[in-house]
Amino acid sequence: MESILLNKYGKKVILLGNEAIVRGALEAGVGFSSTYPGTPASEIGDTFSEIAKDANLYFEYSTNEKVALEAAAGAALCGVRSMVSFKQYGLNVSSDSAFPLAYIGVRAGMVIVVADDPNCWSSAQSEQDSRYYARLAHIPMLEPSDSQECKDFTKIAFNLSEKFSIPLLLRTTTRVSHGRGVVTLGKIVEGKKRGRFNKDSIRFRNFPPYIMETHEELHKKLNELRKISEEIDINFSLNEGSKNDLGIVTSGVAFNYVMDALQDLKLDLPVLKLGMTYPIPDDKIRNFIKDLKSILFVEEIEPILEESVSALAKDVNPELEFYGKKNGYLPRSGELKEWHVLLAISKITGVKSQFNPIAQKEEYKKLSIVKRLPVMCPGCPHRASFFATKSVVGEDAVFGGDIGCYILGVYPPFETQDFVFSMGASEGVIHGIKKVSDQKAIAFIGDSTFFHAGIPGLINTVYNGSNPLIIILDNRSTAMTGHQPHPGVGITGMGEKSKVINIEDIVRACGVENVRVVDPFNVKEMEDAVREYLQKEKVSVIVAKRECQLLAIRRKKREGIVIPKFGIDQSLCDGCGICLYEFGCPAIFIENDKFFIDKDLCTGCAVCVRICPKRAIKAVK
């Protein structure tokens, strides 16, 4: 972390891709940064949060990505360089404002970082390729392939953004965001931290008929940027003198797989690596492809370069053959791996690799390897909420899922996520279900998610009159992405105190009459609340309030509070297995048909004590 603030020009350090982006922003004189936490982008915001005071810049965790983008735009309109960062779906949330922002433009450099997650390593929902947004919203885009490029491209993005008064997109993927690599430091620049909004009656008001003017102007900017794309050295080709007539076009992390595969195969195929993927350098591409016989496209997620480059080939090299995702040489789903690239090149050229990943996988498939799925932590308050709810309603209720740690309720023993769409969708969808079905319906939504997108859904439920039970799992944190604070906690991204906004107050203000705050560790009370509220004719809300256990443990250790440990009294335990099969605390295990608690894992929540019918679980030394 310290290396991010090091002002040692030319020194080499190891940085995570996300940290390198922050470093790049510092070297570009960023003054304002905002985010809503989302993996794989989370560490950008978290790094800013850690250094903001020392680096003398402003950082905030905004309530959602749309607000985050708008805030960063506000700063850039006042002449302060700004950065907003989020995961792929964050760009969807912010898109309503991102599109007009391209027309309106900026007065100081503004960079929008979007992190895609091929393979959904750290997120649910979809394998979205955000590069389509660049084309859709007409926002230029750079795609770094490692930590060094993360830093360098961020600086380039700020400069281009400011020069052309247009925001720039920086697109990473998980292996770039969460890749570590060597970065050579540049100079940190003190940028402007304060600015002023100077009115511009045509541009900023963005109102018809001026929109047609700004749209026209936007295309002029893009034409200028197309020229930049032709000249800029982050769009480069390798092995131009090669005698091979198969060329490779690539971008982002995939470039690295190409280089390694070529080394493994001892081939020197011509490679065109694009660092700026919107607008693409048409002439440079034409020049690259004109004498080739075939092209392999190696890119992460969708065949976007494949589509645009093959369109260009029509006039310069109509005979050119294409290999890529569209004809099955590379996979259409999941993340790209070096072995995919190796096999594709082998298949096209006939050159064999000394590695045989297919045989390797075949051998592997013969093994029986049990799964180890992610689980809610021992002592997680969500587990207690799920247990209490299920003990009352059983299997037949519909359980609306949402985005957060509680998504892990999807697995047995709970299976309390019957559908998952997007942030806040548990409420919207459950309302629709309730309107057409008589089933019991319960939506589970987290605290940070509620602030992010849960409020309109709740108001809609009240306004349009359906009666689901909504359980807000308030663990006082945005836990899944790394325990960032939110408005209900009253701590800002700068680490300062602010007003605590109570979820139950909002719920009441939305017109909900049945509202109760319950501590989910109090299983009986939670069960009673669920039982009572499921009978109501109007929507009801339970706020299950209990600090995330990871935070609680950290806090208790800090405060010197002893964390109790529990054990099972074998003379009382009759082996019913409720604590393991129905509650599923990861600290509980079975050996020789007897149940035990792993003291190293137990966090002392004592919920198992309350649910054990034989009262066999007791505090131990």
Partner: protein, 207 residues
């Protein structure tokens, strides 16, 4: 120890898979080794997994260092060292290894996922793990790092540092002790350095 390149001998690269369970210090180890490689004068890259995967799930991180490193990921079969903090996870990542070049350093301490009990599955026996690793490894070294760490600190969490010390002393990683100690200084918050170093030394001096 360092592997020669396929290109004809002069380029060096070394590939490590570090695998275990979220919370076992896989990420810390990844960061330390990447820094240590830089301290030794190498180019280095690593790939980590954050978020969902960290909640008690299985994780495998990659570290590669050498003269010039492109991909942050190790190619299947091309690992030189598989550093497994848990036996089942050694097995899960075994396809990164091959008979030709791969050493597996495995912590014998088992962590049994509770989902196994709920789904009524079997956790594999240690002998099944060792047998299954054979086609993917040149050598398998089993040590009870958790037990050693627990003896020294009362907690199993430092098993990662014990194994790092061990792998350095036994030259399973082609990095000098000083480089790794420098790497620890860079990658670990100051107040934990002493304890980490102590356990590293314990592993370093192990028989």
């Amino acid at each position: 120890m360092p592997k020669k390149s396929n290109k004809g001998g002069e380029i060096m690269e070394f590939n490590i898979i570090i695998t275990g369970i979220g919370g076992q210090g896989v990420l810390t180890l990844t960061n330390i080794i990447t820094w240590s490689a830089l301290k030794e004068g190498f180019d280095a890259k690593a790939s980590e997994l954050h978020g969902l995967a960290q909640r008690g799930g299985a994780i495998a991180c990659h570290v590669r260092f050498g003269d010039k490193i492109y991909s942050p990921l190790v190619l299947e079969g091309k690992a030189d060292l598989v550093f497994a903090l848990e036996p089942l996870e050694a097995l899960r990542s075994c396809y990164f290894g091959s008979k030709k070049r791969t050493v597996f350093l495995v912590n014998s301490h088992r962590l049994i996922p509770s989902s196994i009990f709920i789904a009524k599955e079997e956790y594999p026996s240690l002998s099944y793990v060792l047998d299954s690793l054979k086609p993917f490894s040149n050598k398998v070294i089993l040590i009870d790092a958790s037990e050693m760490a627990k003896k020294a600190t009362g907690d199993t969490i430092m098993a990662n540092m014990y194994m790092l010390g061990y792998s350095c002393a036994k030259k399973l990683i082609p990095l000098k002790r000083e480089s790794i100690l420098d790497g620890i200084k860079e990658a670990i918050p100051e107040r934990y350095i002493e304890l980490n170093r102590k356990i590293f030394d314990l592993g370093f001096e192990a028989k």
